[in-house]
């Protein structure tokens, strides 16, 4: 079986982190995990230390992309075969990891835990953004990604290295569309997700609108101009 690292980016998740990590270590001890504390203002880091969880503590807030990249660099440096992102708010359920891992081992580069592969996507305002992004990816790559905004994504070794070293590789739908365009194999696996257990969601209405504008422009326009360069690692490039 491949050696999997579960990256759990956590920003102000003191209310949820214990339950999420405890479930993982109790029921799924075969997987390794690492909590990346993204400069939380609450006691997330202290709680992780008190419980003896494996923790990477970022001294400043980097945002999700930075926190996740830290986890992937850890995976790359410690010879993991694959890595996945799991939210610290309890929305992602570890019982689906096995199915996703199987799909990855069958030869995919990226496996997305999708809410809407066999289930119909509800036509609500909240899902409007998801529809727009799905449609943009369809238009620019010809591939159907049913749940592009799902944060539950698994990456193989080559992807881990590429994500760990490069600029503009945030764990977001625009990167997925870019990689599909460049020949990566992306598969989806049907999963169910829970509601966030406690605390505030980062996505307010205004932030969602900003996110949508950014994603649409990025997928429909900017990704066409990118050049994939897996030869030169990022630290050697001058910005």
């Amino acid at each position: 079986m491949s050696k999997l690292l579960i990256v759990i980016p956590a920003h102000n998740e003191e209310a949820n982190i214990v339950q999420v990590v405890e479930e993982l270590t109790r029921d799924y001890p075969q997987y390794d995990y690492v909590v990346v504390n993204d400069g939380s203002r609450d006691k997330t880091a202290a709680i992780c230390r008190a419980h003896g969880y494996r923790l990477i503590d970022l001294p400043v807030n980097l945002g999700l992309a930075g926190a996740f990249q830290t986890g992937l660099r850890f995976a790359a440096e410690n010879d993991y075969d694959c890595a996945m992102q799991m939210d610290a708010d309890g929305q992602h359920k570890p019982e689906y990891i096995e199915a996703m891992l199987k799909e990855l081992e069958a030869g995919s580069d990226i496996v997305i835990g999708s809410r809407f592969l066999t289930v119909k996507k509800p036509k609500t305002l909240r899902m409007l953004g998801s529809y727009i992004i799905s449609w943009s990816i369809r238009l620019t790559t010809g591939r159907a990604i049913c749940d592009p905004t799902s944060g539950m994504r698994m990456f193989n070794r080559a992807m881990v290295e590429e994500f760990a070293q490069n600029l503009n590789y945030g764990p977001e739908p625009d990167t997925i569309s870019y990689l599909i365009k460049n020949g990566a194999t992306v598969k989806e696996v049907q999963v169910e997700m829970g509601e966030r257990m406690a605390g505030q969601s980062y996505l307010t209405f205004w932030r969602s609108v900003q996110y949508m504008v950014k994603m649409s422009i990025s997928i429909l326009l900017i990704q066409w101009f990118r050049k994939r360069d897996t030869e030169t690692p990022y630290p050697e490039r001058s910005l």
């Binding site: 600029l167 503009n168 625009d174 504008v213 950014k214 101009f225 990118r226």
Partner: protein, 119 residues
């Protein structure tokens, strides 16, 4: 009439040069995508004002400007001021992050050296 055509050509050129330059930086992976959005929208705004001068005439008339080109100036000045404002905030945040990081590195260094002395 000639005068206005020249201005419109300049706006279109400015728009394409801005977009072209920023997209080249994306291609070379030398800029983060979130930082390009503003410049792409900015060049789109210039392009729209150049292609549809009616907008400038209508807005200048509405706001009581002497000449439509003044409306174009106001739009550009406003967008650049807004950008300047948000960059100022971003810069301040970056500054404090660098300070915290420097402190962190120095404290870690001190811890490593203290452990060495203890041995």
């Amino acid at each position: 009439m000639f005068d206005q055509t020249l201005i419109r050509i300049c706006l279109i050129l400015g728009s394409f040069i801005t977009a072209g330059y920023i997209l080249r930086r994306v291609r070379q992976a030398k800029v983060q995508i979130e930082d390009t959005i503003f410049w792409l929208l900015f060049s789109a705004a210039l392009l729209i004002l150049a292609i549809f001068p009616g907008i400038a005439y209508w807005a200048a008339n509405l706001l009581g400007f002497m000449s439509p080109i003044n409306f174009v100036y106001v739009v550009i000045i406003f967008l650049l001021l807004a950008k300047q404002f948000f960059m100022s905030i971003k810069l301040s945040q970056l500054d404090s992050k660098v300070r915290i990081l420097t402190e962190q590195v120095a404290l870690n260094e001190e811890k490593v050296e203290r452990d060495k002395l203890d041995l």
